[in-house]
């Protein structure tokens, strides 16, 4: 469904992403992990058209290399950010409708927007201003606004960051439901290995913009290169 071929991004002398290739299949939950500064979020920014790059990206059989972000969104790729802050002057319902109005093929779909609001569990907060939501609410809202664009792929950037155990459990259920009930392919960047091993079918580990390993989570987490460069010996011992 999404084929990334020889993706390279340089910021001056710094090579943020280095000849990276991977493929995400339809219906998958695909994980990306790696140390801080490995280039994970940059990969997201490249796929969503925020930066120019070398290489090629195909989505749904079409070359989307070089398309601007809003056209990539229209094609069916949605994403969320690490910091969940969107449109502070709008309320929950309006924010989700913005996603539908501008991002969805066919324009504003009120019924779908309301369904999404219920799906992410924000129906009781629909008139609440986004700035007044708690962290979990803001995360759900950002996911809701992304889902309102009727995406085929949803790219989540560290959705568990700053969450407690019960919020993580809540978000994991939501992510699984988005994948299984809505049929949306998921790519997730995350530092919590437990989340990745439980949710994903394929896990890509990158360091300094390059791929270290890409396989099933149980294989990746036992790979000596991954343990050495990212997980550490203590993870292997705890395991």
């Amino acid at each position: 469904m999404l084929k990334v071929k020889n993706l390279t991004k340089k910021f001056g002398e710094l090579i943020a992403v280095n000849d990276l290739s991977f493929e995400v299949k339809k219906g998958q939950v695909y994980g990306i992990a790696g140390p801080n500064g490995a280039g994970k979020s940059t990969v997201y920014n490249l796929i969503t058209g925020n930066y120019s790059y070398e290489g090629k990206i195909e989505f749904d059989g079409h070359d989307i290399t070089g398309l601007p972000p809003y056209r990539i969104a229209k094609r069916g790729i949605a994403r969320t950010f690490q910091v969940p802050e969107i449109f502070p002057s709008l309320n929950v319902q309006e924010t989700i409708r913005v996603g539908s109005r501008f991002g969805a093929r066919g324009g504003l779909d009120l019924k779908h927007s309301d369904e999404i609001m219920n799906f992410v569990g924000l129906e009781e907060d629909r008139l609440q201003h986004t700035g007044l939501l708690n962290l979990l609410g803001k995360k759900k809202l950002m996911i809701g606004a992304a889902l309102a664009t009727k995406p085929k792929i949803l790219m989540l950037d560290e959705p568990m960051a700053g969450s407690n155990a019960s919020e993580i459990a809540d978000l994991m259920v939501l992510i699984r439901n988005i994948n299984q009930q809505l049929g949306v392919t998921i790519i997730i960047i995350e530092h919590f290995m437990k989340v990745l091993t439980e949710l994903t079918e394929t896990l890509l580990i990158i360091e300094s913009g390059s791929m270290i390993c890409c396989d099933k989570p149980e294989i990746v987490t036992n790979d000596p290169r991954v343990i050495e460069s990212y997980l550490g010996d203590s993870y292997a011992e705890d395991k």
């Binding site: 925020n50 809003y70 229209k74 969320t80 950010f81 913005v98 996603g99 991002g103 992304a146």
Partner: protein
């Protein structure tokens, strides 16, 4: 004495309403693009010359009604083309906001000297929109001032309506609040940037038409307007439309009282003092974000 104070207050209110109309446009551009348009004052003058050309040499039928009617598409196209032709190509650079400021500063000088070359160095006067006075109790008002006030407030109400009730307006708000978030929900940022410039150019063009028919069209008058618009934008809080509205009226009234009591030569000093004191105490201005 009391009547005089009322007169001064009303004069400040009227000037403040036009400043608000113009400063809100400048704030909008800054809020959305984070770049400052230093040619804004020159577009104010363009409004004055636009009205002068239509009314005096061309003698357009319908007078000011036709001027305002033609001004909307004219200034929209000018603003849109300005963004697409001159500003948009700069966006590929990392420090494009700084480059936009440099470019618009140069554009402002180009336009001001261009006005002198084309229209001559002398000021031009426009016919009043309306003549005569109106009396409310013991207070006598120029009908011209009443029309300016009504037009300015109407312009801001139209702007507010467009911002809150149209697809483009919602997109403008979304880009201003979160450019990255706006793009991921499918909002075309490039179009919104151009539309924002276009809307702000309409607002300053209208401000130019309204104030130049009360004052004059001065080819070098853009600096004064630019300083006022910049003071209002910074005083109100960079990017805050509501802050600009309050700041515009406060400055309009301050100007009127300082001019009346101390003389017009002290007006600019007073407004800049207010700005410096405000920024020293509250660097984000009246309503700017932290």
């Amino acid at each position: 004495m009391f009547l005089e104070i009322i007169d001064v207050f009303i004069s400040g209110l009227i000037n403040g309403s036009v400043y608000a109309l113009m400063a809100v446009g400048l704030t909008l551009v800054y809020g959305v693009t984070k770049a400052f348009n230093f040619a804004y004052g020159s577009f104010y003058n363009l409004g004055g010359y636009f009205a002068w050309i239509l009314l005096i040499p061309l003698g357009v039928i319908g007078g000011y009604f036709s001027v305002f009617f033609i001004a909307i598409p004219f200034f929209f196209i000018v603003g849109y083309l300005l963004e697409k032709v001159l500003i948009s190509p700069l966006r590929k650079y990392d420090d494009w906001e700084m480059k936009v400021m440099m470019l618009t500063l140069g554009l402002s000088l180009f336009m001001d000297f261009g006005y002198q070359a084309i229209f001559g160095p002398r000021i031009k006067s426009l016919p009043g929109i309306i003549e005569g006075t109106a009396q409310i109790g013991e207070v006598v008002l120029f009908q011209q001032d009443i029309v300016i006030f009504i037009f300015s407030i109407s312009g801001m109400l139209c702007f507010g309506w467009v911002l809150n009730n149209t697809r483009t307006g919602m997109a403008v708000q979304a880009v201003a609040q979160n450019p990255a978030g706006a793009q991921i929900v499918g909002i075309p940022k490039d179009f919104i940037f151009a539309a924002t410039f276009a809307i702000s150019t309409i607002m300053v063009g209208f401000g130019g038409i309204l104030l130049c028919q009360k004052n004059f069209v001065d080819p070098m008058g853009s600096t004064d307007i630019m300083i006022k618009a910049w003071v209002i934008t910074a005083f109100g809080g960079m990017g805050s439309i509501r802050g600009s509205l309050y700041a515009a009226f406060i400055l309009g009234i301050l100007e009127a009282f300082v001019g009346w009591y101390f003389g017009m030569i002290h007006v600019q000093i007073a407004t800049l003092t207010l700005l410096l004191v405000t920024l020293a105490i509250r660097p984000r201005g009246l309503m700017g974000r932290e």
